[in-house]
Symmetry: C2
Subunit: 191 residues, 2 copies
């Protein structure tokens, strides 16, 4: 299914807007960047900007890459331990982040400085949370939904801490096992 011209144009505009937003923000800070300025730089009208994104923040934060279909399938049918298969799942996710390493680092800066942006980011992490909980539910049939949620949340905090330290040269994907190590340590702490 080759992408039609329309689709390609949309992809491009969407990317153009994001780039324009990021460029402007890194130099002037989000607060003093107006949606109008972003639109102008992206070469579209203000009205079109709001056709693509509901506000400045989401243009910058966007939807984070989730878990690849293939990795989900592998996890569902996986025959390793929960620890092993989950680590593989996280690895696939982190690999996607590695692909956009430069953008991520840039974003990381912006998130540190701007409150509204952090809120938008939190919101998108919430989506990840329920995605992960849904996935985990397949392998944790004996557990209550609340427990699955708690588990998913904890996993995401641990994973988030990895992303926090993205300055390290090592690709995040290679560090996936650290997440589980953290969880083990946490479990030790609780008991």
């Amino acid at each position: 299914m080759a992408p039609t011209l329309r689709q390609r144009r949309q992809e491009k505009t969407s990317r153009d807007i994001r780039l324009a937003a990021l460029e402007l923000c890194t130099t002037k800070g989000l607060d003093s960047v107006t949606a109008e300025a972003i639109s102008a730089r992206a070469g579209i009208s203000l009205r079109t900007f709001f056709n693509y994104y509901p506000n400045k923040e989401t243009a910058i934060v966007a939807r984070p890459p989730g878990f690849p279909e293939k990795a989900i399938a592998a996890f569902n049918t996986g025959h390793g331990s929960l620890a092993e298969d989950l680590t593989d799942l996280l690895r696939a996710h982190l690999a996607l982040l590695d692909e956009d390493r430069d953008i991520m680092l840039l974003l990381h800066e912006l998130l540190r400085d701007n409150k509204v942006l952090r809120a938008a980011h939190e919101a998108s992490l919430k989506l990840l949370h329920s995605d992960l909980a849904d996935i985990l539910a397949h392998r944790m049939t004996g557990q209550s939904r609340a427990m699955v949620d708690l588990f998913a949340g904890t996993v995401l905090i641990a994973t988030g801490q990895l992303v926090q330290s993205m300055q390290d040269e090592t690709p995040l994907a290679d560090r996936a096992p650290e997440a589980w190590t953290k969880l083990r340590d946490l479990a030790d702490l609780i008991r």
Copy 2:
């Protein structure tokens, strides 16, 4: 230190605004309630509204009650197990929520329906998170800050699940031990 007239008036206006906001929202929904309408109902000018709250959302969500000083001190000097002392700390926190039970239930409704409100709520929970992490750090001197954060986050998720089920008649404070039970179960799950 008797509160001066000025202070009492401020307290009152602050409460008036919150009440006006809650009342209007429950009948018409946050989206169709303007800051101007809230101000009018609270008997103040629009400009004054923004002197008290930076936006509609925070007027409704406000700052959640944190951990009482006394409980923090008791936790710091506590000689029970971490589990016991932490449960006491959570109990003190949940007791504050019980005091505002009616408002909490109302808020719970609103949070379910409104996205922006949820974001504001998340943000205020973030403050709780770092509060708790700071407190825990005193009793977890052997641990890295990351581990303390992870632990605090997990505790808060578990506690949040309790709050979710506030419809139950039982006061939240009495159910504090359930939080630790959840954590034990989680730890079992991980190992």
